[in-house]
Symmetry: C2
Subunit: 521 residues, 2 copies
């Protein structure tokens, strides 16, 4: 069993993140004296609509520069395009070198502001296999209109010069993830400029060039450039809105720790007839270990795993208010019932998870042979929440395995003598670990953003206490102590990371409107 | 999940095999009036030694005809060579067509005999990849002598003309499995002829051409040619001696049933962050099911699985007498302890087994991705004993899965609507099923063979009540009601099924001696 070298991007997590939810959540106000100067909803809508046409052309220009993280020549072209775009808007902009792809940093200060927003986005994109796309080149954007037969059919880009249908979409890699939000920000700035409105916050921007590769160089870069990144709050403009398509904010994200658990049988695969019933089977042992870690309802049974996790009563209403259509999810996923970690999807995401993401032993399908396999492997990912760091949970898992009677090797594989010396042997190998973050929804720097997002539209906004997945935001929170939230704006059905990624034009307009509402405040 | 079409070579097993062990085991007699005419041990040794030189040349000639089951042209050449070889010894021989490769059948009757032995062997061999062998062509046999550096080093075949070292080996595909036993039989007949001894039994021979491919056409052929296969007993001359290298007989073999168990999660793999703790994980469910089937000591916990299995007290001494070196096995297998189905390897083999031969879900290793997989698969083989047929055990396993709260589909996969309709869904797909056989060690036709094998050598013979693996003998037992035993003769370290298959020359001599002892009786 070959083992990957464990990679811990953070040598040690010094402790739990200090950003915690405190106190009761205030009701959302309908506006007040502080927002007196902000444009009203109708003005925001008009301003955003006016930026849609030039913004779409500008986005198309940016999408035409390929941005796979490993394509360093084109990555550089993207960075230069972006630095220039901010400089044209009166920003100081720099391309900051890192061990990997450069960061693009930009800053603009305004008279009389005592607040700085740091916007985070990324300009790299997932690799794209042209053969799987409905267009010749994922980096030659194509405008498409809904089509009853094909779903979407190409139309000339010049159709943007006439009346714009919000149902049109632009198809290209990174159309949604994550170039559109950058252009939305540029166009929101233009709208304010044209309207003669001074932004209510100073603005810093940091654009990551390796997000799709896991941002391996970001923590070091944040330490190196920390002075340029100081701010009062950070807003992550990345990702899709909640599936209900309401305006959305995310105040946290789970972290992740990956583990590989290996159990051992005979040194080499054995004939299952000659030795079946006598030589222990590693797949069976792995099954016992995994079964001992969770109950039939999906709850982790490792002692202490959920310790310290408590959903405060005042938070429940926020979780309950999220319009998840769980019946539809179950139907789409072809599931008869969900696991029972808590009463709802949103509540379940407040807990750490323990997920078998892959499992293997011997051979399956046409390759199956009648053997007792030599090893069995479970690839596990543990999603972390701020109440439990990866070292703590790793210790609980390791102790649990030992408690099941195993001699456990950590981050190394047992040699044959170790396997001979113990009736049960397992090894547990750590992969990556990335902490959770969560900002209190009633943090003073969050309440005004929440209002800005909520008031920009008729539709009530969805406020997610945490997303289940992981975003590369923790280094900012850890190093800089920033309250942070995600302001995702793109359409949930954007085919992110997949062929035929797209951005709905109406969402582009609404995204500009959202950022306008924040910047104008 | 693609499912193979279930293949049941036997439409139905009409019931348990009727060959059961009855009554106490008699002590082995030291010879008696019935064996008065049999040559003594020294004569047997001399006669076998005299056949070694010409026998090795004859074996080399046969080994030079490639015999992979799919190579029908060369398979035919093997069959013709074999039919001619028996005809030269005064046999009636025929090549019997089947749906697949032909059987070679031969018969010789002698005056005054009232007993017929049917010998079974196979003339096809495993495929061989020349690149993995220490010689140019696995079908160009090479004589080798032990060599301190290389293990074995080639010597000219003509060295057989001088003094023969029993430590020499002939290397070629099928050298041991299973061409040597056929040539041993031919040479034992020659030795009797030269010595003027009439065999004590009439002889029938059936040579299988598809054993390594699972003998798919054998059951039908046995029904078709049943008149040619009538006999008083059947001896299988195939396989290696017991690892202790003592003369060996096997009186049974476990059967096998293969199953594929599939559990279901979401219709498509899901992001483990977004849905981990909510969407059920099929690998976790599979782990629970497998863990529910066996305890931590390797004993099957499915109710009724071991019902009817009882090792009679008079059989225990035979099991205990088998000189298995379990400490050495554990050392070689790098195991700290065996499973605890019964007190010893031989005792454990008297029970049916339930073995996870392969397991898979999602991806492992460098391909691992952070998903909740859509399905999980366990490939299972159940080794059968005569007390429990496959239909009975299949029913117990299926009932057990249902008892764990699963909606179980048999031999078909659930569609999405079925998956939506039940909280837990699994499917169980039957592969092949092949029954066990066992002949009573004190069957009248077994006791005299046991004596012949035991008395041919100074060394005590090893009598195995059953082998753990499966041999294609059950059709003979089922269709023809024959008492049957294996008389394996080749060296245990012959690399059967692997590169550098070989036969030790000393074992070739001893094999002739064993068969001589049987035929002379």
């Amino acid at each position: 069993m070959e083992t990957r070298t464990p990679r811990f991007p953070f040598p040690l997590l010094a402790g739990l993140l200090l950003v915690v939810l405190v106190g009761p959540l205030p009701a959302l106000s309908g506006g007040g004296e502080l927002e007196a100067q902000a444009p009203d909803r109708e003005t925001l809508a008009r301003m955003a609509a006016e930026q849609t046409r030039p913004g779409m052309y500008e986005l198309a220009e940016l999408l035409a520069i390929p941005n796979v993280a490993s394509d360093t020549v084109n990555i550089r072209r993207n960075a230069e395009w972006l630095a220039a775009a901010f400089q044209e808007r009166g920003f100081t902009a720099e391309i900051l070198p890192t061990e990997g792809n450069p960061l693009v940093w930009a800053e603009r200060r305004f008279e009389g502001n005592d607040r700085t927003i740091l916007f985070y986005a990324h300009y790299d994109g997932q690799p794209a296999d042209p053969a799987a796309w409905g267009q010749e080149d994922p980096f030659q954007p194509v405008l498409k209109a809904p089509d009853p037969e094909e779903g979407f059919a190409a139309i000339p880009m010049e159709r943007l010069d006439g009346e714009i249908d919000p149902e049109w979409r632009i198809f290209a890699r990174s159309a949604s993830d994550d170039k559109a939000p950058i252009v939305m920000l540029l166009r929101a700035l233009d709208a304010l400029e044209e309207e003669g409105i001074t932004p209510g916050s100073d603005i810093r921007v940091i654009l990551d060039g390796e997000e799709e590769a896991g941002s391996p160089d970001l923590p070091q870069a944040i330490r190196q450039y920390r002075d340029r990144l100081q701010a009062d709050l950070m807003l992550i403009i990345d990702g899709p809105r909640h599936p209900s398509d309401a305006p959305t904010m995310r105040f946290g994200a789970r972290g992740i720790m990956t583990l590989r658990l290996v159990t051992y049988g005979p040194a080499e695969p054995l004939h299952s007839g000659h030795y079946g019933n006598w030589a222990p089977n590693p797949a069976q042992r792995l099954a016992h270990l995994l079964a001992s870690m969770k109950d039939q309802e999906g709850r982790v049974t490792i002692p202490g795993f959920y310790d310290g996790i408590r959903i405060p009563p005042e938070v429940r209403p926020f979780l309950d208010a999220v319009p998840d259509d769980e019946d539809r999810l179950l139907r789409e996923m072809a599931l008869g019932a969900p696991d029972s970690v808590d009463a709802s999807l949103q509540a379940a995401l407040q807990y750490p998870s323990l997920n078998v993401r892959g499992m293997g032993s011997g051979w399956i399908g046409d390759d199956a042979r009648t053997i007792i396999p030599d090893t069995a492997v479970a690839e596990i990912d543990v999603r972390l929440v701020v109440e439990s760091d990866h070292e703590h949970l790793f210790g609980l898992i390791a102790d649990h395995i030992r408690g099941e009677g195993y001699h456990l090797m950590v981050d190394e594989s047992p040699d044959l003598d170790v396997r001979r010396a113990h009736p049960r042997v397992a090894s547990l190998h750590r992969g990556l670990a990335y902490p959770a973050y969560r900002t209190a929804m009633d943090h003073p720097q969050m309440t005004w953003v929440r209002e800005a997002v909520d008031e920009a539209f008729e539709q009530d906004a969805v406020f997610l206490r945490t997303s289940g997945g992981t975003v590369p935001i923790s280094p900012f929170v850890q190093e800089l102590g920033l309250p942070a939230a995600g302001v995702p704006t793109v359409n949930p059905d954007n085919n992110q990371h997949s062929p035929n990624e797209n951005l709905r034009v109406g969402h582009f307009t609404d995204g500009i409107r959202t950022l306008l509402s924040i910047l104008a405040r």
